[in-house]
Structures are given as C-alpha cells and as structure tokens.
C-alpha cells in the first residue's frame, strides 16, 4: 500500500465524538485515481472515517494528510478546491432550482467580486450534462424524484471540480434501479474524468462490482484493503459481517458476488402429521 501514490491518507488517527471513541490508531490511504469504496457493518466507523478525510471531523490523535501536509492546517476554502464531499441525505433549501443548486458547487472558486465567471457558467452546464439533469435545470429540486435529486447533488459536487470526491452513502433511500444508475454515473466519472472517488456503501455486492479499491472495516479498524477480488472472500465476510456465505463470480462482470448461506433446515418442521 505504501508504494501506491496517494494524495489523501489518514495516519494513526483516533476518531471520536464528544464521549464516544469510534476508532483508534486508524491508518488508511486512498490510492490516486481509484474508485475506493468503504464497507463494513453498521456503526463500524466508515462514515466517521469519511468525515475525517473530508476535514469535517478533527482526529483527536494522528492526522489526515492531504498532499503530505496536515489537512487541519489548511484553510477551509483551499481544501474545498481539492476535496469535495457529499454528506448523506442533504436537504435542499425550499424552492431552489436545479441550476441554482448546482451553481452553488462553484462557491470555493468564487468571491464577492467574482460571482459568476464564464468558467463557472461552462462548468455548471458541463456538470449538469454529465449527470443528465440539464433538462431539469429550471425545475425546483423538491419536485424531483429521489434518483433525480441524488444526480443533482452529484452534479453540484462535480461543479466544485475537485480531483478528490467523497460520497457518504450516495445510494441510501434509492430503489435498486436508481442505486445502479447513481453507481454507474460514479464509475463513469471515475473512468472518464480520472477523478479519485471515495464512497461509503452498504451493499457489499455493489461495492465489489464498482470499486477499484475496497476497504473493509469493523469496529473502527481496517480489516482488509485492496482489489475487490482479494478482499471479498467467504472468510472475510464471515469475519467482518459475521455472515456465513459463499462467494461466486458475478455472471455480469466477473467480480465477486456474495451469496448468504441459507440456514440449515431440519426438514421435519411444518410437516403434516
């Protein structure tokens, strides 16, 4: 892991909320130009890790390094030009239109006397086109469906034009078709624009399918990290999630596919007497 170049990494971090310590001595690196996905059971600290990487949570020990320097020492605005972050289930202000919301992604590049440059205009239009929401530009965000709304938020994060983009559970509350749509979009952005993407996901099979780099966490520690094929094994799923399973090849992509084991049935229940 040390040999892979990494602009964003956490070193020996202790992550804690006011009274609760979530992780201790946590070290993790995001390989450049990867689509890194963090998985793990509920409350394993994966969203907390993402917040620390985005400079939204200050580690009580250790540090997050951005380009080799402590991210906490960099001004908020400067970090916002390098690292973008989409928190879980954001709420749009009442009545805001799609174009308005996406345009807000330009904030770290703007100023009091530089409110809307030609670059801003071009980049916002591009972000809406890339996410397929250009047709919705003048619609109020609160009238959109869940999947459309999530694409609008991603467009806003794209308009920020950061080489690194962190997404906290971007598929929560979406139905399966919209989940796939959002993940396909992320994969395309990663491939076509060469951005480094980091996402927290719940669904192990989706993670294995889309990630180029997978980080498996449990109880605030990284259990395994690497290519999905190396990470997702029956033994690891048992260790991380406590779930007995078989791992087969995904018939669509050849990536690992986790099939939970069925509980053994004795065969004599519910039998007619």
């Amino acid at each position: 892991m040390q040999t892979v170049p990494s602009r964003l990494a956490g070193r020996a971090m202790t992550l804690a909320y006011e009274r609760r310590t979530v992780a201790e001595n946590l070290t993790v690196a995001v390989p450049d130009h990867s689509f890194t996905i963090i998985i793990g059971p509920n409350a394993c600290g994966k969203s907390t890790l993402l917040r620390a990487l985005a400079r939204l949570l200050r580690p009580t020990a250790g540090a997050v390094l951005l380009d080799g320097g402590d991210i906490q020492r960099r001004p908020t605005r400067e970090v916002a030009r390098v690292v973008g972050m989409l928190p879980q289930s954001s709420v749009a202000p009442d009545g805001i239109t799609v174009a308005d919301l996406v345009a807000r992604g330009r904030h770290p590049h703007q100023g009091l006397l530089r409110q809307w440059s030609r670059d801003d205009e071009r980049i916002v239009a591009g972000a809406m086109a890339d996410t397929g929401v250009a047709d919705l530009a003048d619609r109020p965000v609160d009238e959109l469906s869940g999947g459309q709304r999530q694409r609008v938020w991603i467009a806003m994060a794209l308009a920020q034009q950061t080489p690194l983009l962190l997404l906290d559970e971007p598929t929560t509350y979406l139905d399966i078709a919209h989940q796939v749509e959002v993940l396909d979009l992320c994969a395309r952005l990663h491939e076509e624009q060469g951005r480094t993407l980091v996402a927290v996901l719940h669904d192990l099979n989706q993670a294995a399918r889309y990630a180029t780099h997978l980080v498996a966490m449990r109880d605030g520690a990284v259990v395994a990290a690497g290519e999905p094929r190396q990470v997702v094994t029956a033994a690891l799923v048992k260790e991380v999630f406590g779930l007995p399973c078989r791992v087969i090849d995904d018939p669509e992509t050849g990536t690992p596919l986790v099939v939970p084991a069925a509980p053994r049935r004795t065969g004599n229940r519910h039998q007619p007497a």
Partner: protein, 339 residues
C-alpha cells in the same frame, strides 16, 4: 438572471426581480418617510426649506427635533430587525428562528429594564440592552449545545428563555417607582414616541458598521443553508462564521430594542415577506433589511393616525401584523409538513 462582467475578470450576478423588489421597497420607505416628515394631521409647511436651514423656529423644532429623529429611529430599528431576523433564520435553517422567538429581544428588554429601575442615561440603557441580549444569546447557545443549532430545539429553548425573561421583566416592573414603571411598560410594547437623536444615533452607527459586514457574508449564509457539513465542504468556515454572525445579529436586535423598545414580530415577518416578494432562495438579506425599514415606518404612520387624537405604540401595530403572519405561517407550514 443578469450577469455583469466588467473587464478585469470580475463578475456580478443580479436577479432582476430582487432588484425591482429592492427598488420598490426603497421607494416605499422614501414616500412613507416623506409623509412622516410632512405630517398628516399638522402638515409642516415647507420641509425642503427647513432642511436647508430656513423656516420659523416652531416649524424647525417640529421637523428637526421631533419628526426627523423619529423617522431615523423607525428606519434604523426596522432595518436592524429585518436584517437580524434574516441572519438568524438563515443560520438556524428555521423559519421560526427569529430573534424575538429565540428570546434575544426579551433579554435586551431585561437589560434595559434594570437600567430603568436603577436609573441611568440612554447610553447606559443601550449598553445594558446589548449586554442583556448577548447574555441571552450565550445562554441559549449553551443550553442548545453545538450540535442542535438547527431544528425545533432552538425554538423550544427560545420559548422557554422568553417565558423566564418575561417573568423577570414583570418582577422588575413591580420594583420600579410608579412613574418609571408606567414609562417602562410603554417602552416594553415598543414605541417611537418622543425618540430623539440620542436614541437613533447609537443604532445608526452600529448599522453603518455591522450591516455591510453582514451583507458581505450573504454568500456564505447561502451555503450554510445547505447544512453545516456541506457548507464546510464547499469552503465556508462555518464554525468560525456562525458565532460572529449570531453576535452581530444579537447586537443589532439589542440596539434596536434600546432605541425603541422590543418592537415585536418585525424580525420574524420581514425576511418571510422579502423571500415571497423576490421568490429567490437564500437569506435575502438586503430585501429583508429594506422591507423591515419600510414596514416599521408604515406601522408608525398607522400607529400615529389610525385612531384620531390618540397615538398607539408602534409595537401594538407590528404585533397585530406579525402575530397574524405567525399564525398563518404555522398553519401553512403544518400543512406542507415543514414545521
């Protein structure tokens, strides 16, 4: 949307509708202000001549020492309340998060009442009002905690604090000598009667300093409406900015209370009306400021002339307007599931 791009890489983004609303509100304030100066029941003969230094002494007194400072106080108080209300509602992401609901206004009133009871000049009154408002703000901040700033908690804590402070204010009134108590009771409803330059100037000076600073952070406030995490990720130092903006809003509300008493509901109402008029998302700081100023001058005209031969305190008029607006807001908000 109009975009101006003068040479030198600068660019400005303007909404035509917001511009029109701003111009209309300014015009309204000017017309109503002119009406206040000229007078409705006893017209001063020649306002421009008196302002230029002419006129007879009696007319000069009425205009320069009575009507002009009263108008200046009304404009200042309305602008301060409108601006502070817009800042608070935006920071707390809550349409009810206005300074009067949060208890800042009552806190300022308590500070001022202490001075009324103990005896002291206008400067002490102003100082005590600001101290009372800021102390209430700090208390509320401590009670709510760092994490619960958005949402119902703030409003509930504010209602509790307001209730406690009304009790304190009532107690202070019983301790005051009878004449002072009568004056204080009038002051507590919010009144512009007999306001002189000594009332208007501290507020206008504070507005001259704080209003440009607050207006310049309008862009950051717009980001904070997206949530603390997202705003931070978009480059706004929320943790540093929020206490500063809250303190500035509390200072404006407190100085407004020192100048005219705790005039109710302008801070709650003005930002809503401004947003409805401009139809623009975001804090609408400047429209809310202008609307607050126009609203208070209008309310004062009504207060002076609604009942012939009798002057109402302006706070009664804003209370009736704002109270109805609050009820309407709760009804509509409940229906759309936002409150």
């Amino acid at each position: 949307m109009i975009v101006l791009r003068p040479p030198g890489g600068r660019s400005l983004r303007l909404r035509p509708r917001a511009l029109a609303v701003g111009a209309a509100l300014t015009l309204l304030a000017v017309v109503l202000g002119g009406l206040t100066l000229v007078g409705v029941d006893r017209p001063a003969p020649d306002v421009p001549a008196i302002l230029a230094g002419g006129g007879n002494p009696a007319d000069r007194f009425i205009l320069l020492d009575l009507r002009l400072p009263r108008l200046a106080t009304a404009l200042g108080v309305g602008a301060a309340l409108g601006l502070a209300g817009a800042v608070c509602q935006s920071l707390l992401r809550n349409p009810l998060g206005s300074p009067d609901v949060l208890g800042f206004t009552q806190g300022a009133a308590t500070g001022a009442l202490v001075v009324v009871v103990l005896g002291g000049g206008s400067l002490a009154l102003g100082g005590a009002a600001v101290a009372g408002g800021l102390a209430t703000g700090l208390l509320g901040y401590a009670l709510v905690g760092r994490h619960g700033l958005a949402g119902h908690r703030v409003v509930l804590v504010g209602i509790g604090v307001t209730a406690i402070l009304s009790g304190v204010n009532g107690y202070l009134l019983t301790r005051a000598p009878l004449t002072d108590a009568a004056r204080a009771a009038l002051w507590l409803t919010g009144s512009l009667d007999g306001r002189g330059w000594v009332n208007a100037l501290p507020l206008l000076a504070a507005l001259a300093v704080l209003a440009p600073a607050i207006l310049a952070s309008g862009r950051a406030l717009r980001m904070i409406e997206l949530g603390d995490h997202l705003a931070t990720a978009l480059g706004v130092p929320v943790g540093r900015l929020r206490p500063l903006l809250l303190a500035a809003a509390v200072a404006l509300v407190s100085l407004a209370a020192a100048a005219a008493g705790p005039v109710s509901f302008v801070a709650l109402t003005a930002p809503h009306l401004a947003r409805r008029l401009t139809r623009a998302p975001g804090p609408n700081l400047l429209p809310a400021t202008l609307l607050g100023a126009a609203l208070l001058v209008a309310a004062d005209l009504v207060a002076q002339h609604a009942i012939a031969g009798q002057q109402l305190p302006v706070g009664v008029v804003t209370g009736v307007i704002g109270g109805s607006h609050l009820v309407w807001l709760l009804a509509v908000g409940r229906r759309s599931g936002r409150l």
